[in-house]
């Protein structure tokens, strides 16, 4: 079950974070600098701040770490500051104050050349509206990042060709972006970002402009890429389902602040406040919550030895299937050790939303504090493998 596909992801705990953001502020408006520095102003609500100073705080005192190999999702409604936040990471928008480090190197202190180097090699971005050059062919668009680095024509085209094939656009190399559908254009955008082989991929609501079906395809494409390459990703979205589907960890933003940061399970299972609770109300909990949270200690040795075995990070809906099929409670087994038991009452409780987990190790409602990760897992794997594992 826990066969992690990439070596990068295995040593998550040891590695320093790829991106480390501390107390980041971005204030738009006249004399924006004074706002983060003044405790009186920082305490103000957004509307009040605006009327007092004419400034808008798009990002307010945000801190988080992005770990190597994980998909870090920043999610929030429009106007919550998430797009500004991701642009601050490579200083496409200059932050007002705070600290950003990539691999321990201070981003805000970089000079122009160093910053260019960061954008060229270490972090590249996929945009909501693609941002393709309309006068260039698909191939030259994909090769653009390499051209900017000064790579020769033949070499960069060969490399671009590989990437174009990787994102499933073979045979379209000579077309112009205007001749492609939205989904195909975004594949070009993705290929352009991948071509420079960056350490981190930044996605700014990449699929919001696409049709639902295409969007699902593209989400699966991202999952596949992540599984194959294990690249660190920062993914901005306003779509909760997308966030839950892709994210290893999710930072939920509102009015420029992170209101909760945690795994999908933590966000759905124990919302930090009413806003988050309202947000996740409609989520089918059984598809997000795992049996680890739903299980209770076995009442008897007999119970610990009987029933179908499931892995701890199997979702509740999969456990329901197993329990329904056998008619007995299921055992949660990790490395051959029985951690606990889930019976139909516990599983129903999760579905009904009355049970947020009887397990002592219930997730703590984390706010800006980086929460415990359940390990970087490629979700598609989990689901694919789970079927074999159960029974």
């Amino acid at each position: 079950m826990s066969t992690l596909t990439t070596p990068a992801a295995t040593d998550t705990a040891v590695d320093a974070p790829v991106f480390s953001v501390e107390n980041l502020w971005k204030v738009f408006g006249p004399k924006a600098d004074r706002v983060p520095a003044d405790p009186e102003l920082t305490a103000l609500a957004p509307a009040e701040l605006r009327s007092r100073t004419g400034c808008t705080a798009a990002v307010r005192d945000v801190s988080f770490d992005v770990r190597k190999g994980e998909v870090f999702v920043v999610m929030g409604l429009s106007g919550s500051g998430k797009s500004t936040l991701v642009r601050c990471l490579t200083r496409l928008i200059e932050p007002t104050s705070g600290r950003i480090a990539i691999d321990g190197e201070d981003v805000l202190g970089m000079d122009k050349a160093r910053l260019r180097e960061l954008r060229r090699h270490r972090a590249s971005m996929v945009f909501q509206h693609f941002g393709l050059l309309p006068h260039r062919s698909v191939l030259d668009n994909v090769a653009y990042g390499l051209e900017v680095q000064g790579m020769g024509k033949a070499e960069r085209r060969a490399r671009a060709k590989e990437i174009v094939a990787k994102v499933g656009l073979e045979g379209m190399e000579q077309r112009r972006p205007g001749q492609l559908s939205g989904g195909q254009q975004q594949r070009v955008g993705l290929a352009r970002a991948l071509a420079v082989d960056p350490q981190v991929l930044l996605f700014d609501e990449p699929f919001s402009a696409l049709d639902p079906l295409i969007r699902r395809d593209m989400q699966e494409e991202v999952v596949r890429l992540h599984r194959e390459e294990g690249r660190t990703m920062v993914f901005i979205t306003h779509d909760l389902n997308e966030a839950l589907k892709l994210g290893d960890r999710i930072a939920l933003m509102r009015d420029g602040q992170v209101v909760q940061l945690g795994t999908p399970e933590e966000i759905v299972g124990s919302p930090a406040d009413d806003y988050v609770r309202e947000f996740v109300r409609e989520v089918p909990r059984e598809q997000v919550m795992t049996v680890r949270t739903a299980m209770r200690p076995p009442e008897s040795a007999d119970e610990a030895g009987r029933g179908p075995a499931v892995a701890p990070d199997v979702t509740v809906s999969e456990a329901i299937e197993a329990v329904a099929r056998t008619g007995t409670a299921a055992r949660v087994v990790d490395d051959g050790r029985c951690l606990g038991v889930v019976d139909s009452d516990a599983l129903l409780g999760v579905v009904a939303g009355t049970n947020t987990g009887t397990n002592g190790a219930a997730p703590k409602p984390a706010s800006a504090v980086p929460a415990q990760a359940t390990g970087s897992k490629a979700k598609a794997d989990t689901k694919a493998d789970a079927g074999e594992e159960v029974v």
Binding site: T90, L92, G131, G145
Partner: protein
């Protein structure tokens, strides 16, 4: 993320506007009530008081004398203007010699092949035919003279315009400084540019080229800046996110993204340059324009037409080829490989050279005399017949000369005497009121100052004469133009029929319009007005049609769903919603009419245009310069009085 903040003012506008308009009116009435008695007591009413006039003719005459005396000795002329002048003469001469050396066959082949490569086979054929027609009409040499002047002027305009546009596109401060200047330059009649260059360079080719450059560069600058500023921000951000340097961004993204605007700028610059190169015959440009000018001076319509047709052909060919090139580049067609393109261009060049050599070997370098078709005589016979039969005395409908006469006595004369009879302060008051009601207080101030400037210069009477012609022409233009525009907007068939006509009419240089009106109406003020109407009509029709057609279909549909009749739809939905476009149509109509009314001075329009021509012809630069400045002032007044407020103006660039 970036929520576009739409101007929220629009919602409550009608009510607000009424109040604001009312407030403005009250304010103006108050100011008038206080000022008029004072002004009246101080200076008499009636025409502009002499006490407020400054006679500039003497200092201007001295300045012009000084320049003429020092042109060959003063270091400013020797080391600056002299070099410019020499460079211009040399380059025009060089281009002209190359064109002559290529011979008619070489030039025609080269032009057709260039058209083929940039715009396709059909236009290549048209281009070839156009050049052959120039030869057939016996106008090969003047055509080449005009072309040589054009090549140099267009190159200089494009370089100058692109540099200015680049500066304005990349720097906000330059843009803010440059924009009002460019906007103003675009509304000034071509005649206003002639005098200053003549003052410095004297009559001749350098003056003509420089006037052309100054006249033709603004659209290039404007569109370059617009293109650079209008680039898709998303693309630029994406390009920046890949770690490009500023130079890389400019070369690989901003300039390519602005290609459409750049080519449109080139197209407009070429059209303006042709227009000016023809008009500049008045200051020694030579070529086709000179032939028309000389022929018009002796009312020889046939000769004027023989030179006019090549001008029109040149205009249409240049316009279509550059426009088609723009469409091609802007399109999404698959990329042709660089080698294939180079091969095709190379083949074209070889063919052109072969044609030139073949003609040379055949001993037919110059257009053969025997191939010239003289159209002047038959045309003149036709004109004579028209004069005899159509000018007057046609039963029931009268004749063209009768119409012109009636128009002059019943419309132009009363209008002129009415305007000239108005107390001078009331003219200022009317200008202020109109400009303020339609625009802002800044536009009103500019307009009033410009109008007062006319008075101070001492050309009040003749300016009002010009103004009366402009007003009459604008009224006719608007009635015809709006009616046609509405018809074209409501019927696809009418629009399809009109489109090619409008296309051709919009590309023709102003000067050419004088030829048919002289044939029809003789000389005088009425033909000048007629030429102005014909010149301004296409733009007015086009803007009106576009404005009406671009009305939000949802609004129209909802009106239809409520059962509005088509008349109600037009009156209650389309016209109100197309208001910005209609105001723009008025503004453009006024600007275009003024340009031609001024040129009408060449065919007996009198007033300011005549003063300029007279000043040039008599070497009385002072008179001409004063008239030129008055034209600038009048242009400013008319533009500002009809200029919608800044908010709506933004649609103009689109």
């Amino acid at each position: 993320m970036a929520t576009v903040t739409a101007p929220t003012v629009r919602t409550g506008l009608p009510g607000l506007l009424k109040h604001r308009a009312l407030a403005k009116l009250v304010l103006i009435a108050l100011a008038a009530a206080v000022l008029i008695p004072v002004v009246n007591a101080r200076w008499a009413s009636g025409s502009w008081p002499d006490a407020l006039t400054v006679d500039l003719s003497e200092p201007l005459g001295r300045a012009s004398d000084w320049i003429i005396d020092n042109r060959d000795s003063h270091p400013l002329f020797l080391y600056f203007f002299g070099h410019i002048s020499n460079a211009v003469v040399l380059s025009v001469r060089a281009v002209y010699l190359v064109l002559l050396a290529a011979g008619w066959a070489g030039v025609t082949a080269a032009a057709a092949l260039v058209a083929w490569r940039t715009a396709g086979l059909k236009l290549a054929l048209g281009t070839g035919l156009a050049f052959l027609t120039c030869g057939l009409l016996g106008m090969w040499v003047p055509t080449m003279q005009t072309l040589a002047l054009m090549v140099v002027a267009v190159l200089a305009s494009v370089v100058l315009g692109a540099l200015l546009g680049l500066a304005a596109g990349l720097s906000d401060r330059t843009y803010r400084a440059l924009r009002p200047v460019l906007d103003t330059m675009q509304v000034l009649p071509a005649f206003a540019y002639l005098l200053p260059v003549v003052l410095v360079f004297g009559i001749g080719v350098p003056a003509a080229v420089l006037a052309t450059v100054v006249y033709a560069a603004p659209p290039m600058a404007r569109l370059t800046a617009l293109g650079l500023r209008g680039a898709d921000q998303g693309v630029l951000e994406a390009v920046e996110s890949l770690g490009t340097t500023a130079r890389q961004r400019l070369m690989t993204a901003r300039l390519p993204l602005a290609r459409k605007e750049l080519l449109l700028g080139l197209n407009q610059t070429i059209m303006m340059a042709l227009s000016m190169a023809v008009i500049a015959s008045v200051i020694g440009a030579g070529g086709l324009g000179d032939r028309v000018y000389q022929a018009l001076a002796s009312v020889d319509v046939g000769a004027a037409l023989a030179a006019g047709i090549p001008i029109v052909l040149l205009a249409v060919v240049l316009d279509r080829v550059t426009a088609a090139a723009g469409d091609r580049l802007g399109g999404d067609g698959p990329e042709t490989s660089g080698r294939l393109r180079a091969l095709q261009w190379g083949g074209a060049a070889v063919l052109a050279v072969a044609a030139a050599i073949a003609a040379r070997l055949a001993g037919r370098l110059d257009w053969p005399e025997a191939w010239v078709v003289n159209i002047a005589e038959p045309v003149n016979r036709a004109v004579d017949w028209m004069t005899a039969h159509l000018y007057s005395g046609v039963p029931y409908i009268g004749g063209t000369a009768d119409w012109a006469g009636h128009f002059t006595t019943w419309v132009l004369d009363p209008l002129r005497s009415g305007l000239q009879g108005l107390p001078w302060w009331s003219v200022l008051l009317i200008v202020a009121t109109l400009a303020w009601l339609i625009g802002t207080w800044q536009t009103a101030l500019t307009a009033v100052l410009a109008m007062a400037g006319i008075g101070v210069l001492g050309v009040w009477q003749s300016s009002l004469d010009t103004l009366s012609q402009v007003l009459a022409a604008v009224a006719v233009t608007l009635v015809l133009g709006l009616a046609t525009g509405i018809a074209a907007a409501r019927s696809d068939r009418v629009e399809r029929l009109l489109r090619p006509v409008l296309d051709v009419f919009q590309t023709m240089p102003q000067f050419v319009y004088l030829i048919p009106v002289v044939a029809l109406f003789g000389v005088g003020r009425a033909p000048a007005v007629a030429a102005a109407v014909v010149y301004a009509l296409p733009a007015v029709v086009r803007i009106t049609t576009q404005g009406l057609r671009q009305v939000d279909p949802a609004a129209l549909e909802s009106a239809r769903s409520l059962g509005a009749s088509s008349g109600q739809q037009l009156r209650q939905v389309q016209l109100p919603l197309a208001r910005p476009a209609l105001l723009l149509a008025v503004n453009q109509g006024v600007v275009l009419v003024l340009a031609v009314v001024i040129i009408g001075g060449l065919v007996g329009g009198g007033a300011l245009g005549y003063d300029v021509v007279f000043g040039l012809a008599q070497g009385d630069l002072a008179t001409g310069l004063v008239a030129g400045v008055a034209i600038v002032c009048l242009g400013l007044v008319l533009d500002r009085v009809t200029q919608p407020t800044e908010r709506r103006r933004t649609t103009k660039g689109a």
